[in-house]
């Protein structure tokens, strides 16, 4: 799956899951609250029934003429009797604070029921019953609700993933078509470019004919095409080509690439200054090193002024390429690594060069510094 495809799918999934789960959570919360109140109502009803039974027992006690009246107790609740002035009469518990105007109230996870009694058997105008709230069914309901939400989350995640893939499949198909087209085009371009370059070299070597300037222009144009082909091939493989990472003599490679770009440098009458320490080696795949150097050099030449200055420095720790060209502002520097982004459209190109540089830098954990000033030039340093 492509990076952009993954990004789109991820964004779709995040929005889809947030909205879906928000709705489900709201519905579940409402359901849970309703059910919780239903459980509490059931317990209230039960306490109400107990209070009726207790009232009957107290009436019997009131009518009794036995010397001792045994107060009716029950393991399911505690009770207490209060007179009309809300003074405690008797009971198997003594509540600290009770609101006699509230028939049902909850204090410290305990349900209280205040029942008014008329007539006042045993002088009791109020019967207060208390029972600990049975939280087991509520906790069970909470667990089930959570489990439901969790299951719903995974079901919708899977559903969302397939929906997302379905939605982005047209985009994927278009992208694949475009990729195939570029692949076919670049493939078809490779052979003629190679032929042109080889024959120019043969002309230069074997024949001393006129039109050297024209031949040079053809060579520059062909080399530009050749690099474009290499860059596109690199991107087409999406940075996943087989790398042969070994010690690479970067000093020698840099000299070779400078030689490769000589005709371009000369055509712009650029003064070249090099400070290259010999025999510098780093662990890198040769193709990656060529792509890195070529893109930096190509930019420095392309965006340099006529008769400008190109300074190339290489030492044990870094490679820097500085030009005296158009330069960039801070906003342009921020966008430089985006694919197909070109800060200056005065020169040709597709805006893929710095994307490739960024991919190579990230893969090898190199560091890149870009210092640029508009109309003054740009200096790019790569540290390893």
């Amino acid at each position: 799956m492509l990076r952009s495809e993954k990004k789109s799918l991820f964004r779709f999934l995040v929005i889809y899951m947030i909205t879906t789960m928000a709705l489900f959570t709201l519905a579940s919360t409402l359901f849970f609250t309703y059910e919780k109140h239903r459980f509490l109502d059931e317990q209230r009803d039960l306490l109400g029934t107990y209070s009726e039974i207790l009232t009957n027992k107290i009436r019997t006690l009131h009518q009794s003429s036995l010397p001792k009246l045994v107060y009716p107790t029950n393991k399911n609740y505690h009770s207490a009797l209060f007179d009309i002035n809300k003074a405690y009469i008797f009971g198997d518990f003594k509540p600290n604070s009770i609101d006699f105007n509230q028939p049902y109230q909850i204090q410290n996870k305990t349900l209280y029921h205040v029942k008014q009694v008329i007539p006042y058997y045993l002088g009791a105008a109020y019967i207060v019953l208390k029972s600990p709230i049975n939280r087991v069914p509520i906790q069970k309901l909470f667990k089930h609700t959570l489990l439901f939400l969790l299951v719903a989350f995974f079901i919708f995640l899977i559903l969302g993933y397939f929906l997302g893939r379905l939605f982005i499949s047209p985009m994927r198909q278009s992208f694949e078509k475009m990729n195939h087209f570029i692949q076919d085009t670049t493939h078809e371009l490779n052979t003629p470019i190679s032929t042109i370059l080889t024959n120019i070299e043969l002309l230069d070597t074997l024949y001393d004919c006129e039109g050297k300037e024209e031949r040079k222009r053809i060579e520059i144009a062909s080399k530009t095409l050749s690099r474009l082909y290499d860059d596109m091939t690199y991107l087409k493989l999406n940075n996943k080509h087989h790398r042969e990472i070994k010690e690479c003599d970067i000093s020698q490679l840099l000299h070779e690439r400078i030689l490769y770009f000589t005709s371009m440098i000369e055509s712009k009458k650029i003064t070249l200054e090099t400070k290259i320490v010999d025999n510098i080696t780093i662990m890198i795949d040769q193709n990656d090193a060529i792509r890195l150097i070529d893109n930096l050099l190509s930019n420095a030449i392309k965006y340099n002024k006529q008769k400008g200055l190109l300074t190339i420095t290489l030492d044990l720790k870094h490679l820097s390429i500085a030009d005296s060209g158009v330069g960039m502002n801070d906003e342009e520097i921020k966008k430089i690594f985006r694919r197909f982004e070109r800060s200056n459209k005065s020169e040709g190109g597709f805006g893929i060069g710095m994307d490739i540089v960024n991919q190579i830098i990230s893969f090898y954990n190199f560091k890149i510094d870009i210092h640029s000033k508009e109309s003054m030039g740009t200096k790019v340093s790569v540290r390893w």
Partner: protein
């Protein structure tokens, strides 16, 4: 010595009061076989608290009327209405308190033995 005199005085007062309650109220009720506990329970059923019972009893004793009695009409038919009490308010309250204390149902209620 002073303490002993005080103690004797208190005991004597209490004994006089008790005798007074028995003589003034209970003796007559017993003679007429008036059920004191039933009277108390009827007051309790209607007035709930000791304060309210005391107030109702004192009011009735001072001014006995068929409309004010706690007992059923049949009871009044059999025993008739009591004469108005001429005792002082203080004495009347004291006697009513003693009556309430004697028949207080709360004292009879106990928790079941475990």
């Amino acid at each position: 010595m002073v303490k002993i005199i005080y103690l004797l005085a208190i005991v004597s007062t209490l004994s006089n009061a008790s005798q007074s309650f028995e003589d003034t109220c209970i003796q007559c009720h017993q003679d007429q076989e008036i059920p004191n506990e039933v009277i108390y329970k009827r007051y309790l059923l209607k007035y709930s608290s000791d304060t309210n019972i005391r107030e109702a009893m004192v009011n009735y004793l001072k001014n006995p009327m068929a409309e004010r009695t706690i007992m059923p009409a049949q009871f009044i038919t059999i025993f008739g209405l009591k004469e108005a009490c001429t005792l002082s308010d203080e004495k009347l309250n004291q006697l009513v308190d003693e009556f309430i204390n004697k028949y207080d149902i709360k004292r009879k209620i106990v928790l079941p033995q475990k």
